[in-house]
């Protein structure tokens, strides 16, 4: 069963959210590839679909300003210190 352009766009949008989260805002080739695919699909969408997508809030923000600096966890080198906790919260 083939997907409509809007359904395909949603799939790529979901992947984009994950790739951006995984890369924590750092550039990646995978993100570029997804954006290119999404752009191609964009021009296949109806005006209604585009309007629908434009009216939705952005989904791929890494952190809202309120969340920045709230909680950062860093991992510890447990291979050097095998009885150490594996992570710690830093300000």
């Amino acid at each position: 069963m083939s997907m409509s352009p809007l359904e395909r766009y949603r799939v790529y949008e979901r992947r984009l959210v994950r790739v951006r989260w995984l890369q924590q805002g750092f550039h990646s080739v995978e993100e570029d590839d997804l954006l290119q695919e999404m752009e191609e699909i964009w021009w296949q969408l109806s005006d209604e679909d585009r309007h629908l997508l434009d009216s939705e809030p952005p989904k791929s923000l890494i952190r809202t300003p309120a969340e920045v600096g709230k909680r950062v966890l860093k991992d510890k080198d447990v291979l050097a210190h095998p009885q150490s906790v594996s992570r710690t919260e830093v300000a």
Binding site: R14, V17, R18, R20, W21, L22, Q23, Q24, F26, K59, S60, L61, I62, R63, T64, E67, V72, L73, K74, D75, K76, D77, V78, L79, A80, H81, P82, Q83, S84, V85, S86, R87
Partner: protein, 249 residues
């Protein structure tokens, strides 16, 4: 037993990976821990136990943790009880929830995802839980099966020097894809602290200077061990638990 899987992001490497660790606690009671109802936060933050197994994709230490799944249960809890508990926990995870914890059948679990993955928390749970479950079936670590690179520390009249032994240099070069210069690090007598202190404090830096390898590549070769010319171990990364003997400068 404490089992944890982290997804970590390294800003210096610009990439992410999943690392999983398995700890055990032994038979001695630990203040504040009731294995019938384990306090998972206390175990994760203060009493992880002793590391007995790991599956590391990216060398730990200073990476940002962007999600984690923790499991705590008494040592020896059957694997099927743990996997059943994780399956039950999964069913309770709601999209757009960043933190969840529960205790089922004396197995405590907690799951956390940093901001930005809204709506895909279950996918992340599945990935972390598969990494954690993979560690249930085995102790040990892939790097333990490999002999470490050997850096030889030699006392000199004016201090000491470190250099890779020829076999280790060959292994490092094979990983790097180019020939290493005949690198020798000299620490002069003017350094007040003894050899052991210098090795303890500067082991990662010394290892990198000698091998030119990233921590990840070093780990893939079994890590590095600093030994005296007589073969006594001064330090190693990762720690293998062997007795380390001290020498004076």
């Amino acid at each position: 037993m404490y089992l944890t899987a982290h997804r970590v992001f390294s800003t210096t490497r610009g990439r992410q990976a999943v690392n999983a660790f398995r700890y055990e606690h032994g038979q001695q009671p630990i203040a504040g821990i009731d294995w019938e109802n384990p306090n998972i936060a206390l175990i994760a933050e203060a009493h992880p136990g002793a590391l007995v197994g790991d599956n590391v994709e990216m060398a730990p230490g200073g990476n940002e943790v962007i999600s984690y799944l923790d499991v705590a249960a008494q040592d020896g809890t059957p694997n099927n009880r743990i996997t059943d508990a994780l399956r039950g926990f999964r069913q309770r995870i709601k999209p757009h929830t960043k933190t969840m914890h529960t205790t089922v059948d004396a197995i405590a679990m907690q799951f956390w995802v940093s901001a930005g993955l809204e709506g895909q928390e279950l996918d992340e749970f599945d990935e972390l839980s598969s990494r954690a479950i993979a560690l249930l079936d085995r102790r040990g670590s892939p790097w333990r099966a490999l002999p470490p690179l050997i850096a030889v520390v030699r006392l000199e009249p004016d201090g000491f020097t470190c250099s890779l032994d020829p076999e280790s240099a060959k292994r490092a070069e094979a990983s790097l894809g180019f020939a290493l210069p005949a690198e020798r690090v000299t620490v002069s007598r003017e350094v007040e602290s003894g050899i052991q202190t210098v090795i303890d404090d500067l082991m990662p830096e010394l290892a990198h200077i000698l091998t030119r390898l990233s921590a990840d590549k070093m780990l893939a070769l079994g890590g590095v061990r600093f030994v005296t010319a007589e073969g006594r171990t001064l330090g190693e990364w990762p720690a293998r638990g062997a007795d380390q003997q001290q020498i004076s400068p």
